[in-house]
Symmetry: C2
Subunit: 352 residues, 2 copies
């Protein structure tokens, strides 16, 4: 039988209440007594039963998820997954609210974070814009001892507890490795379509892609980055222009969103370029099937949401996280290994 608080109490010659005070770092215990109890805990190898503790506390975890608003398939899919988590909240003792803010807007996001702080949540998950004011707002949350997990895109120079997202540099390198192999024997430059250099995930993918092409496939030219702000209209215009002025483009790496525009441009220009994009959405799925896109790198929004919740809970309880379980993997989809064949539902992803 695994030892309980009673065993500690007996071993230390104190009462349950005192044991509890020591366990939960509450004041009102003499140093000597505390010492005794801690020794007992150590000696009998006590591990607290979190389930029982939560039961006794009737613990619920109020969490706040902050993500960009707007017409971005991936982000809306993410929101769908958060809503799915809300449906499970009765079972999981969570109580999740969703806040949306304009994309790529640091001040607005910082403001939303400060707002969130006022409601004293048990944790906050945020799709970060990589700016100092956002980092400062995150740090204010941390000062209040509120756990913060960045979601999808990370935040430099902040005290965030955890990042629930893929290794974006590795994603960029993966895209480059595939692209280099796909283009073997075919000359021509590579075009890159990004969303914004204000978000860390896009910057890291770009860096990873570039560095690998330069070292492993030297001589392959990369055109100046097209920054389409994840907007389909802008993306279509930029890619269209590029295809017009560089008819010899052999490959295109779309590392952000706005893929609807990319796809439209590809169709219009009958480009034969090898194309690699991110995120499996209804649009990229169709383009894969139609042969317009060769490969899609995907991050599973459902897994990210579930992971964020698990980590926030663990942090809120001062528990360790199973890091292997929380690593978000980079899925690679070709036309031929798409999950479920029917019309793509909003929740593409999966997990675990």
């Amino acid at each position: 039988m695994r030892p309980t608080v009673h065993d500690i109490a007996a071993a230390a010659g104190v009462s349950l209440a005192t044991v509890d005070r020591v366990l939960n770092l509450r004041p009102g215990v003499r140093a000597a007594t505390r010492e005794k109890v801690e020794q007992a805990i150590e000696q009998i190898g006590f591990v607290r039963d979190v389930a029982a503790a939560n039961l006794a506390k009737s613990r619920v975890y109020p969490f706040i998820f902050i993500l960009p608003s707007g017409d971005n398939s991936f982000m809306r899919g993410l929101e769908t997954e958060i809503r799915a988590a809300i449906d499970r909240s009765v079972f999981e003792r969570t109580q999740i609210s969703i806040v949306t803010v304009p994309a790529f807007d640091g001040p607005a996001l910082a403001n939303a974070l400060d707002q969130a702080r006022l409601s004293h949540p048990a944790g906050v998950a945020v799709v970060a814009v990589d700016s100092p004011e956002v980092a400062a707002a995150v740090n204010r949350l941390r000062t209040d001892n509120i756990p913060v997990v960045t979601l999808v895109s990370d935040l430099a120079g902040s005290a965030r507890d955890h990042f629930a997202g893929i290794d974006n540099a590795a994603a960029g390198r993966t895209a480059a490795g595939l692209m280099g192999r796909f283009l073997r024997g075919r000359p021509g430059p590579i075009a890159i379509l990004a969303g914004s250099m204000l978000v860390r995930d896009h910057r890291e993918r770009l860096e990873g892609f570039r560095s690998l092409i330069e070292t492993e496939f030297p001589g392959r030219m990369i055109l100046p980055v097209l920054e389409g702000h994840d907007d389909p209209v802008e993306a279509e215009r930029l890619v269209g222009q590029a295809l017009k002025s560089h008819p010899d483009i052999a490959g295109i790496y779309s590392l952000g969103a706005g893929n609807r525009g990319l796809i439209a441009a590809l169709k219009a220009h009958q480009s034969g370029a090898s194309v690699i994009a991110h995120e499996l959405t209804p649009h990229t799925r169709k383009a894969l099937k139609d042969g317009l896109i060769d490969a899609v790198l995907n991050q599973d929004a459902g897994h990210e949401v579930r992971s964020a919740i698990r980590v926030l809970k663990a942090k809120a309880d001062g528990q360790a996280v199973l890091s292997a379980q929380e690593r978000i993997r980079i899925d690679i989809f070709l036309k031929d290994n798409l999950p479920f064949d029917d019309a793509a539902p909003a929740s593409e992803g999966d997990d675990i």
Copy 2:
């Protein structure tokens, strides 16, 4: 406040014990009373607090994991992950034992399953050999109401509750899609190294690979399958022979284990073939880095083990499983997106 058993009792005008009997489908309740209670449950929207129930029951889950013995890096990695789960068992209320049986040996496996049945476990996870006697043994477990999850390789015609493994047909197609693209413009046949057609995962990968090559890359010849029984020595001999008699081999798909032998043969013959293999082990990792293997498809043993445990628990409690969470993904590794750079530890993988 979420409703409790007390609320049901009050609403139905009965005692806690009766509510409990209805909830747990125990006998000793008049049909009319049962009806009343069920109505109350329905009306107030009761959902049982599993954590509290487990606490009251001091529930522990005795599980048995059965896997092949022998010198197979992937299977030994799987065992390591099971041992990691054993380390967590105090927290997870599990009590896991490991049984190993000779690989590809249906009768031995069936015997081990029958043996497992005698100890009345709360669930069994098994790396299946796809044979009728194994299916029969699994069905005997199911008759005793013991949940069974197949692990890594599935079992046809059995009543197993769940399969914790990748979609192997999709894996084969993925390998074919990559291979076809890698070989663009290069003639020459493809060689296939398999372990044994007695296990379902190998058969499914082969089928998926073959069908996609035939439909998407017609004209690409596939040589007769080499069956190496996951044995490095045999694999080396078979691949060596093939490379000697077909010096024009353009691609090799290794869909089973025994990759040490494959790698040795590749080195010895200075083959320039594009190679795709399964499972990231210290050997395949090194071969990737050395450029001997182009891509590795991997299944995460850690994720599979954790998933199997979650599913067995859920089935044992008659609970629903979050199917999205339990889907095991196919990881694709190139030389340039390998996880952690240091010397590969036994536990490569990770998760959902």
